[in-house]
Amino acid sequence: MIDRFRKAFGAIRPEFYRQKHKHLDHYFTFTNYRKIWAISILVMGTAALVPLIVVTMIHYRLIQESVDSELILRTERVASNARRAVTFFLEERLNALRFTVNEIGYDQLTNPDHLAEILRNLKLGFGGLTDLSVIAQTGIQVAYAGPFKLEGKNYSNQAWFVECQKADFYVSEIFRGYRDVPHIIIAVKSFRPDGSFIILRATLETERLIQSLSSYKTGEHADIFLVNRSGIIQTPSNYYGDTFQKMSLPLPDFSPRTHAVMATDSHMRSIVMGYAFIFPQVCDTPFILMVIKQKAGMMKVWLQLRSNINWFVGFGIMVITVVVTITCTFMVNKLYLADKSKAETMALMEQSNQLASIGQLAAGVAHEINNPLALINETAGYVKDMFMIKEHYRQDEELLENIDYILEAVERCGTITRQLLGFTRKFDVKIQKIKLHDVISDVLIFHHKEAEYRNIKVYVDVPEDIPEIETDRGKLQQILLNLVNNAFQAVDTGCILDIHASAQGSDKVSITISDNGCGMPPENLTKIFEPFFTTKERGKGTGLGLTITYGLVRKLHGDISVESKENVGTTFIITLPVRIQEEVREHENPFGR
C-alpha cells in the first residue's frame, strides 16, 4: 500500500523534488527549489484565501447582526402586544369594580342579596370572578357574595388593605387561597358622602389571563409568562421554572417601556428576552411580563444557510488550494527546468572552453617544441653516425643502444606533437552525400581480421530507411575508426561490439557504438575528451585519440557523448545533422561551439 502510494507520488513528483546534481549546483541561479515552491504556495495561497475568508466573516457578522436585531424587534413586538392584553385585562376589571362601587349605593352594596346579584352580573360580563366583598374603612368586611362565609372578617392589618387605602386601586400577586386555586385580588376604594370610604374587593381566577397570554406564544421555542417583582413565576412557564418558584432567568431592571435583550439562560442557550412591567393607568401591579425566545429555534433558516455557505466556502478553499498548488508546482518546475538547462549549458560550455584552451596551449607548445626536437634528432643522429663510422665505437653496443633510446624518444615526441598540431589544423570540410552503412562497413574492414582472431562479435544495425547524410566522409571515417579502435582495445576476447544507427527526428541521425568491455569509472568519464588523458600504459597511448575525435565531431556540427559503467561496458553516441552548412571556417577552433 505504502509502496503503491510512493509509486503514485513518484509519477507526479515534480523534477525539482529529486534535485540530484551536485556537480551542477554552482551553476544554478536558485539553490533551494523546495523552499521556493513552499514559499510561492504559501504566498499565493494566502493572497487568494485571505480575502475570501475575510469577506465571508464580514458577511457572517452582518447577517448575524441583522438577524439579531430582527429577533429583538419581533420579540419586542410580541412583548408589547402581550403587555397591552394583560394591562387591558386588569384595567377592564378594575374599571368594572369602580363603576359598581360608584354607581350603586352603599345600602344596596351591603345588601348580601343585591351583592350576589351584582356578582352574578359581573360574572356574566367578564367571567372568572369568584367572590365580591365590601369592606368598611375600619377594615371590617361588611358584605360578601361568594362561596365562603367571610362576613365580619377584619382586614385592617392586611397589606393589600393598607395599599388600597393609599392608592385607591389595588392589584395583588397571583397566590393560592383557601381553595388552593391560583387567583388575584383586585380592590377599588370609594368615598362615601360622609367622608368615610369603602373598598370593593373581588377575587379573579387566573384561567382567562393565562389563556390570553398563551395566545401570544408563537413557535415551540417561545415562552411567555408573568413573574412578580421578586422573580417568582406567576403563570406557567415551559422552560424557566414551576409556578410560584423563582424563575431561572435574571430579573430585568425596571423600565417603563417594553424591552428585548440578548441573554443566555441557565442551560447556556442563547435567548432573546423580552420583558415589560405591567402598570395600568390607575395603579401599579407586581407583574412583569416575560417573553423568551430561544435563538437556536428561530435561527434555523439562517443556520441552514450558514451551513450551506460554509460548505461552499470550504469547497472553494479546497479548489483554490489545489489550483494554487498545481500552478506553483508547474511554474517552479518550469523555472527549475530552465535553470537546469542553463546550468547544463554553462557546465558544457565551461568544459568546451577548457578543452579549447588546453587544445590551443597544447598545439602552441607542440609547434615550439618541434624545432628543438628536430635539432635533438639531428644531433643524436649525427652522434650515432659518427659512432657508426668509427670502428672503436661501433663495437660498443651499449653506447649505440643509448643513442637509439634518444632517437626513439624523439620519434615518440614527434608523434605527439604531430597529433597535437592536428587539433588546430584547418578543417576544410568536404561535404558529400554519404550512406552511413557504407562508411561503417569501410571502417570495419580494417578490423575484420582482428575481430575474427579475437572472436569479437560485431553487430551492425543501420535501418534501411535512415536518410543519407551530408557530411565529410573522411572525417566521419576517422571518427568511427577512432571509436572502433577504442572499443577493440577495451573489450576482451569473445566480447560484443554493437554499432547502431538511427534517425533522430527529420534532421539528425545518431550512431551508437557500444561495447561490453571494461567500462570506465565515473570520474574518468568527464575527462576522456581532455588531451593527454589516457588509461593506457605509459607510452602506449598519447591520450589524444578521443580529443581529436571530439574536435572532428564538433567540426561536422555534431555532438558526442559517452555513457559507461565499470565492468558493464561503454557507449559512445554521435549525433550528426542530416544536412550540414558548408562553411569555410578558416581559423576556427575545433573545440568552439
Binding site: N371, I376, V410, R425, K426, D428
Partner: protein
C-alpha cells in the same frame, strides 16, 4: 648529387648537412631565402630542401623562384609546423612534404627517389 638545404634554424641545418654529407651527398646550405637565391645563381642543384616558413622569402615563394631559374631542381618541403594548410599547399607545390623531426633514412630514400 648536389642539394641545397634552406632553413632558418642554423644548428639544425648544420647538423643535417653533416649527416647527409656522411651519406655521400653534396650539401650546400643557406639560412635565408635571399642567401639561397645567391647560391643558386652560382651553382646548379639537383634537389632543394626548403623550410616552408622562414623570415624574408618563405619556402613557397622561394620554390616558385627556383622553378623559374632552374626548372630541373627538384623541391622537397620541410616544416616544423605540420599544419594541414601547410601540408596541402606544400603537397600541391611539391611531391614531398616532410615534417620535423625527420628520419634521415627516409630523407635519403626520398632524395634518391626524386633524382632518379
Amino acid at each position: 648529387m648536389k642539394i641545397l638545404l634552406v632553413d632558418d634554424e642554423k644548428k639544425f641545418v648544420m647538423m643535417l648537412s653533416k649527416r647527409l654529407a656522411l651519406r655521400g651527398i653534396d650539401v650546400d646550405y643557406a639560412f635565408t631565402g635571399e642567401e639561397a637565391m645567391a647560391k643558386i645563381e652560382n651553382k646548379k642543384f639537383d634537389v632543394a630542401i626548403l623550410d616552408v616558413k622562414m623570415p624574408g622569402i618563405g619556402g613557397i615563394e622561394l620554390k616558385r623562384k627556383l622553378n623559374g631559374l632552374t626548372p630541373d631542381t627538384k623541391i622537397i618541403f620541410l616544416t616544423g609546423h605540420g599544419s594541414e594548410t601547410d601540408y596541402e599547399t606544400g603537397s600541391a607545390e611539391a611531391p614531398y612534404y616532410l615534417a620535423k623531426p625527420l628520419q634521415i633514412e627516409k630523407l635519403v630514400e626520398i632524395l634518391y627517389e626524386v633524382t632518379e
